[in-house]
Amino acid sequence: MLELVATPFAVVRCLATSERLDRLRVPAAAHACRVASDELILLGPVAAAQELVAACSGLEADGVVIDDTDGFAAWTLSGPAAEEAFARLSAIELPNERPAFVQGAIAGVPGKALAEVERIHVLVSASLGHHLLERVAAACGDLVVSERLAADPIESKRA
């Protein structure tokens, strides 16, 4: 059983030296995903975009903080079959611990995935959002039950 959920994420990209990123205080409502030693993205509820940007203001001195929510399309694979669906979309091996962040080829395009329990959020470039949908429909047609819009994506972070 699989549900495909359109997930409104806020995505804030932070570029700074590795030491500064290590010391960043990440807001409780967001996941901090280390893209590279000098780049980190914060994933949070879309309504909190401004808050997240503000939380990183300390980096702006000689770094860059950008609200790049528009740059990504995000869909969530939700349900007991989420991992089965992911295995059909990507050769990336998800680590055992949750939540886990991975990046690499997903559905044949560069993507990022945040894996929670029975939910895997997949982000691709905004210009490829439709492509991810098509691939899920094609590869997981026998698993998909329904699609819906989500109100709040970061359930695992709700206090």
């Binding site: 990336i92 080829a105 993507g111």
Partner: protein, 74 residues
């Protein structure tokens, strides 16, 4: 088909997630040699790969061109 490169940030990935960036030139080489001449070593070669599907950073890889064994990734 399955050559794997271990990206320091992202982990072990198939080579198809990367773009090949050529041999690392020797430091002493002149422009002409650097741009046009390849050593094409049969053996350990230092080369550059760009992880375009993942972190989008460059790696320097040491690969044995005879066996495709990767010895080091930085």
């Amino acid at each position: 088909m399955g050559l794997r490169i271990v990206c320091p940030t992202c982990g072990s990935r198939q080579y198809t997630e990367f773009w090949f960036g050529g041999e690392v030139p020797d430091p002493g080489e002149e422009e002409f040699e650097r741009v046009w001449l390849r050593s094409n070593t049969a053996g350990l070669q230092r080369e550059r790969w760009f992880h375009y599907a993942g972190c989008r950073r460059w790696l320097t890889v040491e690969r044995d061109t005879r066996t495709n064994e990767i010895h080091a990734v930085a």
